[in-house]
Symmetry: C2
Subunit: 434 residues, 2 copies
């Protein structure tokens, strides 16, 4: 297969022509398919094309909504962008279940974000400390052109600390820098500050006579997506006896639910899938609101491993006859900057949520994660996960089989009382056809 | 704000009407915006609507391509679905850099997936062991209707082991089940098998006389997204002196690059962002090929924490004057099932990749992750991350400012030699306008 030079400089049409000719020749309709996904509004399409390099089409994720969420006594409809068939249904179900039990409560615990200037220094640490004392006000002063807008909004640089890490890696030090980025996720802001720190640091180090020839050397300046001090907590609670038709059933459910969480706390094989379910809800909101799900995923999963073993992010308590179930996760997300003011569906998502600030969005997102986890564990300890999952995925399998309207209705009816598997759906439709 | 009952039963139009009336009343164009994103081909739109519940529109992610990847001496164009502006550009740059240095090598190390029947048992473990010995052939036999198609493709159930976990949690045991799911990601297959195991287990336990009244109780049956035995490795290598214009420059770069990886190995704050960069590449391919990025993310990050400290997934060696840089990650992804045969752009993505099987897709995906990490660390230890990042994000800021063609051209020219920040781009355009 051919290579190409200067591909990114080509027009979109030329890019599509090249890929169709060289890599999609066996599919005569490929060009048409790619174009079918273009928006008919060419200005809108251009906006989406320019989000990134070498865009040739729009990848559709379903943009859906989960209604009936009560969070801190306010009603929300939560927008979700997610391809997994059962996620929105599960969220809606959990919202409804908790609606008459006080709904969800959520609070932001902290909002500090961090970044580092990572550097090497082989000399006397005392010299470094006296250099840093002199440097710190200069770092802050020279970052002013970057920070002044953020400061107007009440944010900015919170602190810069010198940290000696030489006990872990030879000659390795950091400037550990903390930030409040208000309603922005803040990656560009933090990285711009850090790179400015790097420049000031290098220039001043060269002038600092005590270093003589043993200058500190900067390795890199970069924000961290690990934000254990940018935390949000979401919770549901109710009297245990409200969890079932009878007191006995309710207590049995609560006990089994607690066992499921305990297993996810001590067994990483289970914890990973347990937390994956939480992230089904979290990422769906993160995507719909134009935030960066890789950043959120990395920070959340690292947080799940912070005690030396990877474990559940949700916890449960049954004390005082009360079922209490909560989630605590780090979430560095924003409601301004990035794609949030640019992607028209992100704007719609923000409007559906009542134009939240970053802290409110943190709460909503955490609630989506908790709701998802409640729904998943609820299914797991009762009917099993496949019933609900395959109910939603059934339509996909029927579409794949190009089932007629009549076949679809019969299959939907039949699989109301039979758990679907891929093979069973195929067999059912084939039987209808013969 | 109002709640609603039976929302999922409404038609899409009725759903859109409800949300527009109740949650988007301040935006007179909301309905139009949502509809603008519908595909004009109503059959195609219906397919996408049915991916999940309560779909009201299509969320666009840019679908782009990164050309010029050499992987195991074969040329690939890698399709990527990703909103972050610099990811495809970085991938393309890394592909080009390694192209004349032997390209990327990748190998699948293992392909075993796992799932568990989690249960409690308060009786004598010896009774459980003798029960399990009797049960095991029955588990396999009764799962036959589910496994027979998979077995035709060479996969199926590999083993079922009884594991005593009571040293970690009172009365907790597992059936640890391993599977080969061939070209399917296999979540539905594994969960269907496990739920069948659960049914057989419960029925047989009730009949097993030695248990008397102390029956084992199943808590849940569920696959694990932690797949440390479904591993892939991607690698690049070249003589160190090929990394720069001069030998000195090349060695300096290699040393700094190694320091960056060492920092990401001992410092979780750095490791999280380092691995996030890897996942930028991995997820872009996972999304474009219709796989489940939450499953992949959870498994990969848990793997990064497996030694008790969260650390870098890439490693580097400079032995024998050779720069060797590699990534090892667990990847449970498929090329059949799920959305892969359903989403027309996923089909296109698979065709662009030459219709790979699951193992080939594992290799390609790992390479995308390694390429992304190489590009990121390369930028970090040389020019800094913001230059490349803001170069791509510049177009987004200009779109946000609704810059004219003339303003755009001037801004692009100016920021070729100046590092852009959000504030600087705004100031530049405002200056042009005054």
């Amino acid at each position: 297969m051919p290579k190409i030079s200067g591909f990114s400089k080509l027009s979109k049409t030329a890019k599509v022509d090249w890929i169709c000719k060289n890599y999609l020749a066996s599919n005569k309709k490929a060009k048409e398919t790619l174009a079918n996904y273009w928006n008919t509004d060419s200005k809108l399409q251009k906006l989406h094309d320019e989000f990134t390099e070498n865009t040739i089409s729009n990848y559709y994720l379903p943009f859906g909504i989960a209604p009936n969420f009560t969070i801190n006594d306010k009603t929300y409809v939560i927008p979700m962008a997610i391809e997994e068939s059962s996620v929105i249904a599960a969220a809606s179900k959990a919202a409804k279940f908790w609606d008459d039990k006080g709904g969800f409560k959520a609070e932001v615990i902290s909002t500090t974000k961090v970044g580092h200037v990572h550097f090497n220094y082989e000399g006397d640490p005392k010299k470094l400390i006296s250099f840093f004392d002199k440097l710190k006000p200069q770092l802050l002063a020279e970052a002013k052109p970057i920070t002044q807008n953020m400061e107007k909004r009440g944010g900015g640089i919170l602190d810069i600390e010198l940290i000696d890490k030489t006990n872990q890696l030879d000659n390795y030090f950091q400037l550990h820098c903390s930030f409040d980025t208000k309603d922005a996720m803040g990656a560009n802001f933090i990285n711009s500050c850090l790179e400015q720190f790097g420049q000031t640091f290098e220039r001043e180090a060269a002038k600092f006579e005590a270093f003589q020839n043993t200058l500190p050397e900067i390795i890199m300046c970069i924000l961290s997506n690990y934000v254990p001090e940018c935390l949000v907590r979401a919770e549901v609670s109710c009297p245990i006896n409200r969890l079932g038709e009878t007191t006995e059933e309710a207590h049995k459910f609560a006990k089994k639910f607690k066992q499921a969480i305990e297993i996810a706390t001590i067994e990483p094989y289970r914890a990973v899938t347990h937390n994956k379910g939480i992230m089904n809800g979290v990422d769906a909101v993160v995507l719909a609101t134009g935030n960066d799900f890789r950043a959120v995923e990395a920070g959340v999963h690292a947080y799940a491993s912070k005690d030396g073993i990877y474990k559940s992010l949700t916890q449960v308590s049954l004390a005082k006859e009360t079922f209490k179930f909560w989630l605590e996760i780090p979430l560095a997300i924003g409601t301004i900057g990035g794609l949030t003011n640019l992607h028209p569906l992100v704007k719609i998502a923000m409007e559906i949520l009542g134009k939240p600030d970053a802290q409110e969005l943190m709460k909503i997102t955490a609630v989506a994660g908790l709701a998802q986890n409640f729904a998943a564990v609820n299914s797991l300890v009762t009917s099993g996960i496949q019933k609900g999952h395959m109910k939603m995925h059934l339509m996909n399998i029927l579409n794949q089989l190009e089932a007629s309207q009549d076949e679809r209705l019969k299959a939907i009816e039949y699989f109301k009382t039979h758990t679907a598997t891929h093979a069973k759906v195929i067999a059912f439709v084939e039987k209808l056809r013969n």
